[in-house]
Amino acid sequence: MSEIPTSSVSKGCFVFKSASKKRKRHVGVGGYLVDDSDDNASDRFKICQKLWETVQMNTEVIQDQLNKKVLDSLAEFIKKHGLGRSSDNWRQRASEIPTAALMLGVNVPDHAMTFRSLCNLLQDSVTPFVVSVHAKECAAVKFLIQKVLEQLMEIGVSVDEEQEDDTALPQRTQCTISALCQWYKTVTKKSTKVSPQRKENSTNSDLPQSLPVVVIFKDFEAFNPQVLQDFILICSRYTQELPFIFIFGIATSPSAIQHRLPHSVSSLLCIEVFHSLSCTQHLASVFEKLILNSEFPFKLSSRVIQVLVGIFLYHDFSVQNFVKGLQFSMLEHFNSQPLSVLCCQKQEALLSAKTLSKKNVERIRHLPSFMRYVETQEPQEQVRLLTDDEHVKGVCHTLLKNLHKYHKNYYPILQCLHSLTSSLPKFPLGKHIRELHVSCIEKNLWETEEYDSALQLLRILAKDELVAALRKCAEILKSAKRMQNVLQQLDDFIGRLEALQSVSSEDSSGNGIVSGKIEYQRTDLFQLQKTLLEKESRRTRRMNPFEVLRSQVIEFIDSLVREYLTPAELQPLSEVCYYSSSGVLRQRLNVTPRTSIQAALSHPFYYLQNESLKTNSGTISSAAPDLCIVYKLHLECGRLINLYDWLEAYVTVMSAAEDQDTNSEEGGKYDSLKHARFIQAVSEMEFLGFVKSTKQKTDHVARLTWGGC
């Protein structure tokens, strides 16, 4: 430890974390991985960690990008109010405190990150005096004031009379805003003297510098209204000396302010509303960056995506949790799938394909997708694939290349198809690209009805709409290097469409109506569609040049879909990259405490892993914990359970195990130990919420759950 250099320009104290602890933890991870070193577990761990780092980096970047606008406007708001006050003293806005109501949405777990970047931004560019408070720490006004003072003055402020510990301090600061006022005066005086070259000063040097004091209420709804009101009343008394600015972090809607603050208090505030990004939009960006990205080797199967998106949409709206779910899937995948060594960037994957261990080659042979691939080969080739390891490695090499190529082609075409269909009425292929993606990787899209109806709708697009849609596709394809060929064809189509000038007037008007009516999505759309489609089919006989071209375009798109949007499962070696255990994921991320309790009680072996507890279902083993026995017995009862009968049954089970030859003489009696154990088990049942005492019948308890075994 002494070797660690501690030279530093400034004085300071250095913290050395105890090295032994660190090493121990590291050994811990290594220890897990060394066990099966044959499977390159540590390699997989490394890949996984590297991927996770990119995920984290990307999510942060996305969040910053998306939040930039609202954060900037907030900073602008604060600058405007904090620095440009008291310009006209006839109409000084008496004691209104500028307040920003920041709408954050109900995805509370994601707020922390927003607040962090907000604090950083404000501290960097506006004012050093930023305080953020949580409702939990502010049960009373004095605690709120204490928090504000502590964070601003960076000292301990005593509020509670009971704590006598820091009486030694010579001048204890009182927990009041007027104390803060004093402090603020001295600090600002100092800073104007010491550093007059501050940025704010240089811009308006004649104005006395008044850096605002920003108080951020992170969870506005959770605050006790009385505390808030008092705090605002107190602060409003000091607005002349202390330029307060409040930020309310609101999860629901701005009317929450009016619900919590009476007019007499809200009239002290000057409230402006700011909207932060919506969580669905945030998810869409994260999805696009992390999942619909060929650069990111780790993939999720359709089921897994559905589980993760389901949790998002149905339960929490939290992007953080979605990313956590993604992290969990990554860990699971790299842990449970030894072949995931190949799940990395192309070059590395190709390298490690060459050095596959014997065991892993065998594993590849057992992959369903690889077996399917083998079946399509010539018999001779099949034999080689099954016997020659080196050959398998070679094939693996090309298959991996193909897989990467598949992904490179897949995403641009997916985006094109989405941009084509997302403007169709009723969104036959889904409103969001993730829905389209899920249906593409799970089955042959072109065999679905939705796809048919989407194509039908595309077939009746008017010319300008079609051209616009194709232009968008061309834009998407421009960035895809491999797709230049397709792009060329697309451009060609666009050119030909535009060259078609003289569409017969009758048709153009007909199409105009179509397109016009498609806009009205609210009217009886289905009916309209049907009639139009019928009309269309009747007209097929006599197509004008535009219609001919249009159907060519549609066919072209269809061919693209059939070529590139094949289900991922069918790709050989897809298991290497795709994590598909949606069941595990659901079990882990969306836990059901009740089922686990029931499983534990009815199958104690599942958790305790004790051989003696292994029973075939239906029988009751006396070796099981008392609680399990009592639980199983109670399943056979009705709504009311006779305690005495229950005890009898329990004793029977227990004594049946003890010795088979117990005579009937002992039948009626039972020792007090068993009695006590029974009582304890029953109270545990009550604690778990399966039974409760009842006054309906003496010596009975009521069951709180239904059903038998």
Partner: protein, 461 residues
């Protein structure tokens, strides 16, 4: 008891203010006059107050309780008197005193300097305060009456129960020439402890009449316009707002906010100052709009002013309550609907609404509306968690596992204050909740999930 004599009421009606001659021996006369000039429409109160106070060196009444509605000038009058006559006083806003110690501290440091206040022990009791006060005042006995002014005195009731009775007879306790003045919006009857106490002198500040408001508000006219113009502006303003708001502070705020709009025709040269009717036509609709927006704080004052600058912003401006929409996760919506149903339906009707085959209960005898009042008028009723979950499972359209996240959504709804927990929140056994959202809100929510909530509400059967 001091009430404004009827004579002065008549005087108020007079447009020309009489210069009142205050006769109070012991105080400099010219200060008194300027004081009276600065406090228009509070002459009688001022006079009575001065009479109560007596000459500076005389003992005054131990405690005076001044009450009256918001912004009737209680603090303003008392503090102006104290400051202008340079009387020794300690002014404390009770809302700031999170503990009685702070109050003692402020009083002592105002009378005897911060060093004296520092002598207070860490958590001073009332007797500590009295002892220290006595000690200090024996060192420097009062030559003039000392005044302790306690603003928002209603907060004293929430502090130590012995504090208020002690303050009321502080003069006696510390045997010093000290008077406590309590200021409050609430009448004395709501203060009186049931153990009884020394009765302070009650002193009412009546609300300002419309004419008085005009007079006071006209006082702070804009420097670049004539006082007459400003007075007519104030008249117009009060014509619009007097029926909804008599709060002087609020009216002053509104006057400042809208004055630039009032002057707009003058600036543009479209009207002259004498053209009151034209000016009125210009400002009246604007003030009406202000009543629905800035006055209610639906729009902030800054936004309102910006809006006056450019008309385009006016159309884009959204008022605060316009963003009532809340985006919730799917199951949270159903949980909220279930909570709403549980809150507003009697529990006995659950069978009818949620049992697939409720068979026997016929609608006619079910509809025995012996409870005439609508449940919606009575407000939400508390319900146990089990009932809500049972309703939830029957209204949600798919099979939902009772996962931990479902339960944690309930507590999220509680922190968002869409549900509120009844009773103590550490009651784990069978917690009870209330739904605290409005019917409109729940209708909007259920529309997004395609659920017809009205069909399930007993009130709308």
């Amino acid at each position: 008891m001091t009430r404004a004599p009827d004579v002065t009421r008549e005087q108020r009606g007079q447009t020309k203010r009489m210069s009142v001659r205050l006769q109070c021996p012991g105080y400099p006369e010219d200060t008194l006059r300027s004081l009276a000039d600065r406090l228009p429409c509070r002459d009688t109160q001022l006079e009575t107050l001065l009479q109560l106070m007596g000459q500076p060196d005389q003992y005054s009444y131990p405690s005076i309780f001044i009450y009256g509605h918001r912004a009737t000038g209680k603090s303003h009058v008392v503090l102006s008197v104290m400051k202008d006559l340079e009387l020794p006083h300690a002014s404390v806003d009770c809302v700031e005193c999170v503990s009685s110690g702070l109050l003692f501290h402020q009083v002592l440091s105002a009378f005897f300097g911060p060093d004296a206040a520092a002598l207070l022990p860490r958590c001073p009791s009332l007797s500590d305060f009295v002892r220290l006060y006595k000690q200090m005042s024996s060192n420097s006995p009062a030559t003039q009456t000392r005044y302790i002014i306690l603003d928002r005195a209603e907060r004293l009731r929430d502090m130590d129960f012995s504090l208020l009775p002690a303050l009321l007879r502080l003069q006696e306790l510390v045997s010093d020439n000290v008077t406590v003045i309590l200021l409050s919006e609430i009448v004395w009857e709501k203060f009186r402890p049931n153990t009884g106490c020394f009765e302070p002198l009650l002193f009412h500040f009546p609300d300002y009449s419309k004419a008085e408001l005009v007079q006071i508000l006209s006082w702070d006219h804009h420097p670049s316009y004539t006082p007459e113009l400003y007075a007519s502006y104030i008249n117009i303003l009060l014509g619009v707002f007097f029926s909804v708001c008599r709060d002087l502070r609020e009216l002053r705020h509104l006057a400042v906010l809208n004055f630039s709009k009032f002057c707009e025709p003058l600036e543009k040269g479209e009207a002259k100052e004498s053209d009151i009717h034209k000016l009125w036509k210009n400002i009246e609709p604007h003030l009406q709009r202000a009543m629905q927006t800035v006055y209610l704080r639906e729009v902030s004052s800054v936004q309102w002013e910006q809006q006056q600058m450019d008309e385009e912003a006016a159309t884009t401006l959204r008022v605060l309550s316009a963003h009532a929409h809340i985006e919730l996760p799917y199951y949270s919506k159903f949980l909220l609907i279930a909570a709403y149903l549980a809150s507003f339906n009697p529990a006995r009707t659950d069978r009818r609404f949620f049992l697939k085959s409720h068979g026997k209960i016929r609608k006619t005898n079910f509809l025995k509306k012996h409870e005439k009042t609508s449940n919606h008028l009575l407000g939400p009723k508390p319900f146990p968690l089990d009932r809500m979950m049972a309703i939830f499972y029957s209204v949600v359209d798919s099979r939902v596992a009772p996962t931990a996240s479902i339960f944690s959504q309930i507590s999220s709804l509680v922190t968002l204050q869409l549900l509120s927990q009844v009773g103590h929140d550490d009651q784990l056994d069978s917690p009870k909740y209330k739904c605290s959202v409005s019917l409109d809100f729940i209708l909007a929510i259920s529309r997004t999930v395609g659920f017809d909530v009205v069909k399930y509400l007993y009130d709308f059967l």
